[in-house]
Symmetry: C2
Subunit: 412 residues, 2 copies
Amino acid sequence: MPQQIHHHTFDNGLTLLAERMDHVRSASLNFLVPAGCVYDPENEIGLASVLSEMITRGAGDRDSRALSLALDNLGVDRDESVGQLHQRFWGATLASNIPAALEIYADILRRPRLPKEELDPVRALALQDLQALEDDHKAMVMVELRRRHWPLPLGRDRRGTPATLKRITPASVRKHYERSFGPRGMIVSVAGKIDWPALRDQVERLFGDWQGAGAPELKLKKAINGRGHVEKETAQTQIAIAYPSVPFGHPDYYAAQGAVQVLSGGMGSRLFTEVREKRNLCYAVWASYQTFKDRACVLAYAGTTNDRAQQTLDVTLVELKRLAEGVTDEEVERVRAGLKSSVIMQEESTSARAGALASDWYYLGRVRPIEEIQAAIDGLSAAQIVAYVKKNPPRDMTVVTLGPAALKSKAE
Amino acid sequence: MPQQIHHHTFDNGLTLLAERMDHVRSASLNFLVPAGCVYDPENEIGLASVLSEMITRGAGDRDSRALSLALDNLGVDRDESVGQLHQRFWGATLASNIPAALEIYADILRRPRLPKEELDPVRALALQDLQALEDDHKAMVMVELRRRHWPLPLGRDRRGTPATLKRITPASVRKHYERSFGPRGMIVSVAGKIDWPALRDQVERLFGDWQGAGAPELKLKKAINGRGHVEKETAQTQIAIAYPSVPFGHPDYYAAQGAVQVLSGGMGSRLFTEVREKRNLCYAVWASYQTFKDRACVLAYAGTTNDRAQQTLDVTLVELKRLAEGVTDEEVERVRAGLKSSVIMQEESTSARAGALASDWYYLGRVRPIEEIQAAIDGLSAAQIVAYVKKNPPRDMTVVTLGPAALKSKAE
């Protein structure tokens, strides 16, 4: 059964993407709004997070409670999140309930009440979220890594600080909503048992007359990079490393993915084998890939006991650098098998597909057919991966540790 | 399309369950082995966890690395976990790779090498896992809650202690494997694009001649219950509460689920509304249901700042007790919608179905058809839920807090 992918970009700049999946009864929907935390004013960082919580506290004819109940009554499993560049609104339910859910989301996105009296409660939750970070060392080391690795405001933490949260007013929430929510650059994606003509007509009716500008251009500062340490009396030391890679859509993108998989895809991968299995240095060690439109990075993480932390950092850095010395055909075969299997599994999930539609469109301006992804995976070779690593070796690194003592950086 | 569920119990006591899902290309497999941490000898707690890690370090003709690579080469996404009563081995990949994966799992389960030289590395990892708990306060409060709420050894933590881990020897790992791994009581379940006759024949060939006893009977001590506090200088206070419910399979089971959903299903649920939205006491608050064959509990959790902890505990306890005063039809409608939507979504996931097959069989000795579950959800009423809560009110509670200061227990 070939994929049935549809898309339409309305005159006001909003893009609708859909994938019909015949053999499911559910559907997932995904709104990607270019209103992430990088657009927060410098003195009110945390505003996007506050807005994302405020926006669900009443919209259109419904107050906060009525809105929650209306979505609950449709069986919508849902989530809102704030990233660097986007706010994401995600929901999944029976396909037959999607049209009713879309009506409610149109209220949320276009007619939020943003009630004044909810600001203090929402701010209190935002402060709690910030305080919880103090006890979550893994999240905290990543916050510090992002802050050092990406040029600000790209590396900013969406939670803000007590001082920036305190400055937020009902008026600034309303102003930020009006400035950052609009059809231009917004992507709506739906995957599951949907009826495309009816879906397109409904989205046109709900969003077609919306007007508004897109996200402003970002001015980036210079990245800090280098070495950071967060001193904290903990039982474990957290280690996080980042260095540049090629962005999604770059001709070397699949080779970059292949390199990360050699390091960290499956239990036979290099980091798992060398750091965890052979030297039993730590329980958790992995590498992953993160991308923006114009820049990307390899991210590596290890959490270990304080007395093994130095060795863990050293061995991890050695493994990252050793990639350029060569990759075996056996490793590439393993990587291909893992990637192919994960593509097939994503293809069966409405939620994964709704996310992939939006993400492909945002980065590439088109949706990659599954066959294209499979062909790229089949075509991966050791030579290609090594060539990529030689062009993009682990350098300009950012290394952040969190624990009672800083580590030496001899191997960098 | 009606469900296509198959089962066969072999003469040696092993049960094979399968669900054919025509429209997927993947399949998930699940081995449930009655060898959980409750069967660890008193002076070697942690043995099941050590065994679960050792068992994948070489089996049959393959050493540790060859075993990892063989599964990676089949694209098997996999996981091993140790629960109170079972060890679980889970894998998912292309359906066409399932037969080859089964051959490897037969080696792992029946012919593990349990190499002596791997014990020290595995023990070092187990110690790291134990130490990581020190920094993971949410996990730690749950460990202490289980220890107090369930009669030992049911409430035991699988991680053991440094002293019990130290006592484990290569001989005790081997002995524990021989004592606790066998076909009796073992459940193998597979869901996805499978061929039942071929699957049954293969499992018979791989496991049919295996002999062995089942898990020994458990002798339970008296539960501790009551009130516990773990003193720790943290920014947040963790609160965990447990009290008895009816086990899975009990005539009131669906009413019990309904009650938990009134408390915690969806954003319009009582705990979310009263604790988080109205009083903004905490970011995370939820209730869930946990079951053994002969006993079960409602579990509630909240994580909050230290200064709001007392009020959070008080309000949460009030909400738990208030259930008996009545449930509205509107709430039940909301609960039904949420449960129905989640049943449909689980029905579309090979991994969820493989898990559900095994779980239904273990608790009920049969697999519930989706129609039966849907009919039970449709039949849920406010009267039924309130009757359940009156029969099973929040009493004999266990309450555990973790933070700098203990809380008062006036509302209990």
